[in-house]
Symmetry: D2
Subunit: 374 residues, 4 copies
């Protein structure tokens, strides 16, 4: 191989048979220095397409010399991948207690503040970053060693976060229910959105809600802000983290996976991870929203739904999004009811089953979206 | 309305809150005599498209004069429809004990034999049929009254069977997992297969496996055979029963529903259920198999599957059906494995999730199929 | 009846068949004025014993004259009660998205602050309380009317909260997995803990985590604090809210229910809800902890567990709590492993299944507990 | 060790991560000849107590010289053990398709008939048995190699059956839902029932319903019958198979496990499996039923159940078995309803959850039972 290659396994859990459950780690090291990249997939067990993307990335990295290091972690949640209920995979939350597998990462603003107190004006940024990584990873170590233990999802998340926190670039590969491609980008890294071949962009603030991308960039963003204030200079920590949502859960496609692998390689190329870059982002219309304009439309009624608007469509206010059948009223006017768009919007994803109760997340939609200029 | 219309509810169960769970019944009666038709949908809770078909049938029957009677029973399994596990519907079996909701109907060959002993050579066929219905429905009544009770799925099935056994035409509306249109037809009614607009036909023998169509035609077919032997004449009881599989579970489409409603109306028109028929089956290629040539292909390995062959495709022996990803071997030759067609076949349906264990029903396929001539 | 009695139903959801799901309301009104009491049960669907307690309370209130009003809401979560997965009830969270059914109530500290700004020094406390109720219920109304809708659990919670917020006394009846009796009491109402016949008491601070008791007392406690500060006087809003955990989920006992109904009547008697009180709390040892000393012990290993310490036992540091079997090592020293108490403690509840993964909530325990003096 | 000991693993499945799932095998071989014994546990994933019994058996066999061979297979269904849905284990059926994990073993009466045709009058019984084993195991091999594959449960069952069919004694360790000890015994081995310390005995006929004990004894019983007829002599094939139900699912107890291990050792001792037997069955009352008198009582109503009769109780006709609460009628006569015993009976097990729908298996009962004389 053109890069150094290592393969390893990380034990993340034990099942009820007392057996270790592990996660494969694939690591490529270039002969030249460069950013450290961490990419994982399938923290939600039914969102499996990321594994195909990693398969294609590995194939590319066998023959493409890199600068720095790329760690690839497919199938990072062996518990979630393997809980079937009916034919589908109960992969979004721990089937025992309902805990979302993507909400137990660690962020501690106070720790960043205390850390910045230990930084003097002379300490070089690289040393600051290296010390910061050490402090945070030690803190996670302590949590993992707590006398009373930790919940399974949190253990899993923290073990992965320890790997991810070494990286300068963190990419978490997800899928939506029935979904079109979209990406979560921290506002400070907005320009990077145009380096991927993804038409829908959600810009997120420096607020932690438990996910890996946030657990990464909230620490670094907060550090950067405090250092800038302290040193009164335009310091840039140069760490970015993204959640990529590459279409629908419960399906894979080797062909689509090639598209998304190339999209990631465009970004990595632009970030100087490749010795000689041949991947360049497509020219395409990219629309973005701020997180508060990425809205969930819930059903008011229960029933059986025909999803009329496809993910990615541009829908006008008042236009039909869905039509709900009511089996008790098939002979009269209430047999079916149309759910209309409450404003101009782009549906990004919809619920994957026709059968819904009241209060179901029917659609997630871009509202007040705007075009990202190239 | 041009026909007499009645609406009713059948109580089929009580839930854990002690509340009745009921099934809506819609009944149209024409002013002229004719066959009795019974159509139900969604005995498997995730197979919801039949409800849309019944919606369209009701709309048509509001303005189309019929001969005889049509009973429409959408959403006939209110338990199965409402068991969610994750976003999907756990609708194929009772979540408590695994009992398939479509295997508890009643067939008793010995009862038919005893009944035929009571038929003398003079009794007119219509009277024989009417007595047979009475005897069978009384037997089901007794079962429903058993001192020790009955399991929920069987209770549900028997209550529906009592309605269905009055009919001359029974149609049970289903969907496959990810599926193309196909229909189960008893061999003796093979000619009727061409009256529907359904390209794939499974011909089934006089063997009972628990489903509603079988519970209907096995009784009548056995009766007909015994009467023919007894009277040495070519008696025809003129009862037909079908299971229609109209595409995939977990989705509905009002447009596709119109197609299938029209297909059923073609059959009903040909069977003299409409006063003035305007529905005629399409000219199309129809291929058929005998039940023993409708084969299940199981996975040997677990993994993540890209379904390469779409339901309805003609696939040659050795051609790739699916490609399975193995996340532990992404860097070597075992990263993906192709599953090939063991013979020439048409995949009719495939498993609805990419994630499979070993021993999963990957595809159900037509093998040794032949064309039905028009 | 000696009290006025009304019965009603509250529609809280619609199921996938499009049918309303409702909750029964039983209301007793005394002829004399007095506190308003609200008692609900089974917000977690597998915690059904509270329904039996309400059954006994209703029997008592038929013949026991009350002051004020008592509203009883059994089986308040018809969705959670009816989701079976295997023989058990998947009742603690929404099976679709993992949302805990007891975390979507509403608390808004800023709203209390804004409200207190509208209170002048002359306004009598009863009028303040009445206006506060109106403001909060209107706010909840607005949330329930939001254009984009609300999730099912939150809708359910808010509809119940609107009923509960009228009350001066709110009691939410729960069960633990395998559990002994315990009660959550807000610190300011610590004295009331001794009015119930419950030996284990958890004292909780003015911190909102989503549950009904908190959504009640956090609003009132905050209001009281702000009013005290504003008026510089020892104002008492006289609203209390409790979560009672009455033993194990998945079982009921009419006999045990009588005990808990009497326990609640002791409290109500002491709070002047009964015209002539004949219910007095038992003399018993009551031990209490602050919430931060109510600790979860998680498993480190997966395996099959023999729970050696029973809920309610006093366990010494180092004593065996559980013994875990490892089926892969049955012939050697690692066949079984003892989990020891990390400090002196009382186990209050344990996980209800022998089969555990790593990171399972094995026990919840009182540590640093103290006796409540009578 | 006093016996030769081997440990091995059998791969029985691959999970959705593509990883092998295996079953541990523990084998003891004595220095003297004797019967071959096969004992497995936990084919139903929530029935885990058998693993503890095997743990104790292993401890005993380390120091107790045996004649022949004992194979112990704990946790024989690694899929079923590890499917959690809520806190409990969805272990009785494949969560994907509802297939009972204990119904896919193989029995083929015709194969036995064809085999007996190959036996001449001179062939010694031991050679007949050895050839029979070979023929059957080869047949199972062929099934496992079928071009189109096999379902997961059947694959698992057949792989275990190949191990078990070598044995002269097969014991399958199960638990009931909430249950007292009972044992399934083939009628021809009725005398062996008294060799275990189990008070409730179900005598089963030579009828195959899919379970391991049946798949074992139906083959041998049929062979014996055919050989007896053919040779007109009282041939005894000396193979016995039992299903032991050792109390309730979802719990383990090391203490209770010792009791059941000793009970099995009593039987093994009597069957000359131990060099020097020190285990003798207790003197106790043992009651038995024929299979058709082991009856299921189903609920007519849904609701919340207080199980009044405990497993093992002697209940008279008309006596209360259970009391069902109806939350919609708490103020009137229909608040609770008593379910009475339809005849004199002993409840052996009951449903493990208070929440039941109509048509739930409430109790399984011995009726028309009789005492086994010692």
């Amino acid at each position: 191989m053109v890069n150094k290659f290592e393969k390893d396994y990380l034990v993340v859990a034990q099942n009820a048979s007392g057996r270790n459950m592990n996660v494969p780690l694939y690591r490529f090291k270039g002969s030249k220095p460069g950013p450290k990249v961490y990419i994982q997939s399938s923290i939600h067990g039914a969102e499996v397409q990321g594994n195909v993307v990693i398969y294609h990335l590995i194939n590319t990295l066998k023959t493409t010399p890199i600068c720095g290091e790329v760690t690839l972690v497919p199938n990072c949640n062996p518990v979630g991948t393997n809980i079937k209920a009916g034919e589908y995979t109960l992969g979004r939350f721990d089937p025992i207690n309902g805990t979302n597998w993507n909400r137990g990462y660690y962020f501690d603003e106070a720790l960043v503040e205390r850390f910045v107190d230990t930084v003097d004006d002379e300490e070089p940024l690289e040393k600051v970053k290296s010390r910061f990584r050490k402090v945070l990873k030690q803190k996670i170590d302590e949590k993992l060693q707590e006398t009373w233990g930790l919940g399974l999802a949190q253990q899993l998340n923290l073990k992965l976060q320890q790997l991810a926190f070494d990286a300068d670039i963190v990419i978490d590969l997800h899928n939506g229910p029935v979904s079109t491609r979209h990406i979560y980008v921290p506002e400070y890294a907005k320009d990077s959105a145009k380096l991927f071949n993804i038409p829908h962009v959600i810009l997120i603030p420096n607020t932690f809600a438990g996910a890996l991308d946030e657990a990464t960039f909230c620490h670094w963003w907060t550090l950067q802000n405090l250092l800038r204030a302290k040193r009164n200079s335009d310091i840039n920590v140069d760490v970015e983290a993204f959640t990529l949502e590459m279409g629908s859960q419960e399906v894979i496609s080797f062909d689509e996976g090639r598209y998304d692998a190339d999209s990631i390689l465009c970004y990595l190329g632009a970030k100087n991870c490749l010795e000689s870059n041949t991947y360049f982002p497509k020219s395409m219309r990219r629309v973005a929203v701020t997180l508060d304009n990425y809205k969930i439309l819930y059903t008011r009624q229960g029933g059986i739904v025909d999803y009329l608007a496809a993910p990615g469509d541009q829908v006008k206010k008042g236009q039909a999004l869905a039509r709900v059948l009511n089996v008790d009223e098939l002979e009269n006017d209430r047999a079916s009811q149309v759910i209309e768009a409450p404003c101009d919007l782009i549906p990004i994803l919809h619920f994957p089953s026709a059968s819904v109760l009241s209060g179901t997340q029917l659609y997630k939609c871009f509202t007040d979206y705007f075009e990202l200029t190239e």
